[in-house]
Symmetry: C2
């Protein structure tokens, strides 16, 4: 079997790596026989010289197999999960998971914390008092079987090689490599082991991928490698030039999610969530997925599943709805009359992070109460002086700074982007 | 100033690095703000995408300036040093340094230990009982002024960034990069700060560079970057398909060096050493360097300087000459009649290392007494049964194994290589 220096030499010289090479690499990372500095040399060589589909698949499977792969009873199928590349106001997981479960598709979802503009799914869930995201894999499996949905945080048992590689990529400038991104995302999803994976690949100012081209390439790679690994998979490419929905900030986004589950949410968030669940449904052989979703939102069945999940995980929705507002809530009004496209996604993301709603470093704690709440959806005509939204902040100076950042990014008088740009199957 | 991730990104994307970038990198390595894994990512990116002359110069200077640069009194000029890329039987430094000093060129020489087939210059010197290679930089400067020559081991004060980068290169498969090799060699030589640097770049089976082309590229790069840094420099490309001289092994090579200094050594070692000192002399404006060297060897002046250096550094030549032979000395005889080209350099190197004369790991101790001693120089006609050489070993089994390795590599009936293949100025 090749030793690690042979593997590094081969990738350095653009020679093909075998499945065995990549298993040797990933298992060596997990067991410590491949050092951090060797892993970094690999990441840089793979970044520069690329990994082809076979290598990307092998690396993904090897990273998956560096830890536990969850095994599900056949009777629980179809099991599905969604991965989003992340954006500002992206609270889809909170709605999607119970909505899919309500139409018969179980969703075992393992999420990360946000290290970026705004909080991640776990941060949002934790704004619900008592909500426990630290279940064991056994509890995770049990609840997925019983309730149809369970949402927890990453565990050291799944894809440990990914945790180490992921921690090195930022500091070694090897983040923006499609094969490495794909292996990182998919190794964790494959360890979770659903039958169906749907991707929401965002592009725009507030997304990881700024251009449609890059997002398309990532989406195609994710779908291709997922299928090669034996999963049913597809992707939506969606726009992230403006925040999705009306809120950005942890508790504000949970509140918006509750509104959507009560069928009283903004159209864009609702439509995107329904579209993602309909993708899952199509893979599961359910043709009328969108119709079933609309019915479930209308009847309250999706909301019932959400409540059941929150209760099973120790959360208290009544306590959440009794949460106070942030200490300062400050209005933002239109300074002109016209067709308001809304704020830029990146500007809102930066403002919310500065308010304390996101992280600069992994050890930062997020403030659940702060954020941006829009009164008028993007793409509507407004009058000078009209209330556009509110900043929720811990104190006045922070609120003023956020208002300045967000207001300066307002765009006017141009057609809005479509939210769903392309479907990749 | 660019942060390290910007520097990694630039080299990753083949964008030029500035002098400031490379100083930031090297100083960060020395002060620990650039981690091992970031350094490794840089090494791999630099290996794959290369470093141009300006970048190589800047990296070399930055690595030099990560520690102390020795300052010499003008009155001590010309100061010269030699660097060899290393080979089997390469004992030139031991002769060259006192020989150059004997014709008026001071040689302050800082050497490494061998991690390869046979011992390094320090290992050879340490086979002289009492010889101390661990002087302070202040003692090093004083002795160079007083005796004209001083030979010591590497110190943490000179080019500390090189020590760290060098330690990472083997494990990250980034050794065989001409710019990285050049920066490593030259940063230490520039910290030592002589006026003149002469390179002996070896090519062949027993050399770091196997081909003439690779050796030529390294030699041209070393000379070019040395000149760009303000030094007088030239290189000889020399053959390393057979061991140089008649011995390979630490004490055996010191004995051969004493023979050469007494003008009783083999022609090839003597000629190569004289040629290297003549290069130094030409840079110092001395036209008849070769003639002066031959006179110095004949008159015993070079030997006098060697004795003076050994005594100044605590060594005892009489004790060295009274050393016992290795426990087993076994003859090797010709198994045919013909024109004997001698053993292969790599085979001798491997055999001597296996005998205990070289290292497999940095912490290995070398046995000074073992090695290979040739009776007949390479390229002479021999009779069947004639004594060709002797293996010096710690026990009979080791001797037999070494004899087998060396004998199997004998070459016959073809013209010998010239030793000096090319001069690069």
């Amino acid at each position: 079997m090749a030793v690690i220096t042979d593997i590094l030499r081969a990738k350095r010289d653009s020679k093909p790596l075998s499945r065995e090479d990549l298993y040797r690499f990933a298992s060596g990372i997990a067991d410590g026989t491949v050092t951090d500095y060797q892993a970094s040399a690999f990441l840089m060589a793979a970044y520069i010289n690329g990994l082809d589909s076979d290598e990307t698949l092998a690396l993904t499977m090897a990273m998956r197999d560096s830890g536990t792969v969850v095994q599900w009873d056949k009777s629980l199928s179809p099991l599905a999960d969604k991965h989003s590349t992340g954006g500002v106001g992206d609270k889809m997981s909170l709605i999607l998971a119970p909505l899919a479960a309500s139409i018969g598709i179980r969703v075992p979802m393992i999420s990360g914390r946000g290290l970026g503009h705004t909080g991640g799914t776990l941060d949002k869930l934790e704004s619900i008092p008592g909500f426990n995201v630290n279940l064991t894999l056994e509890q995770f499996k049990e609840q997925t079987a019983d309730v149809g949905v369970c949402m927890i945080g990453q565990t050291d048992r799944l894809a440990p090689a990914d945790r180490i590689l992921y921690s090195l990529r930022d500091a070694t400038s090897t983040v923006t490599s499609i094969p490495l991104i794909c292996a990182s995302i998919l190794s964790k999803k494959l360890a979770e082991n659903p039958d169906i994976i749907v991707f929401d690949v965002k592009c725009g100012t507030g997304a990881f991928m700024n251009t449609r081209e890059d997002a398309g390439e990532l989406a195609r790679t994710l779908v291709r490698i997922s299928k090669m690994s034996g999963k049913k998979a597809s992707a939506l490419i969606t726009s992230m030039n403006h925040p999705t929905g009306l809120t950005a900030g942890n508790a504000l986004e949970v509140q918006e999610s509750l509104n959507i589950l009560r069928n009283k949410g903004p159209a864009d968030s609702t439509d995107l969530t329904v579209a993602l669940v309909a993708e899952m449904a199509a893979h599961a052989g359910i043709d009328n997925g969108e119709e079933l979703c609309r019915e479930s939102l209308l009847s309250g069945r999706a909301m019932d599943v959400f409540v059941e999940m929150v209760e099973a995980q120790g959360g208290d929705i009544a306590a959440f709805e009794a949460l106070p507002l942030a200490p300062v809530v400050m209005d933002v009004r239109a300074s002109r009359t016209g067709y308001w496209r809304g704020p830029d996604a990146l500007a809102v993301g930066n403002a919310v992070r500065k308010l304390g709603g996101g992280r600069y470093r992994v050890e930062d704690r997020v403030d659940p109460l702060v954020g941006w709440e829009q009164e008028v959806p993007c793409g509507f005509p407004v009058e000078n002086g009209q209330l556009l939204g509110r900043v929720h902040a811990a104190h006045r100076d922070a609120a003023k700074e956020a208002i300045n950042t967000i207001s300066c990014s307002f765009r006017w008088d141009a057609p809005s982007d479509a939210l769903i740009l392309e479907e990749i199957r």
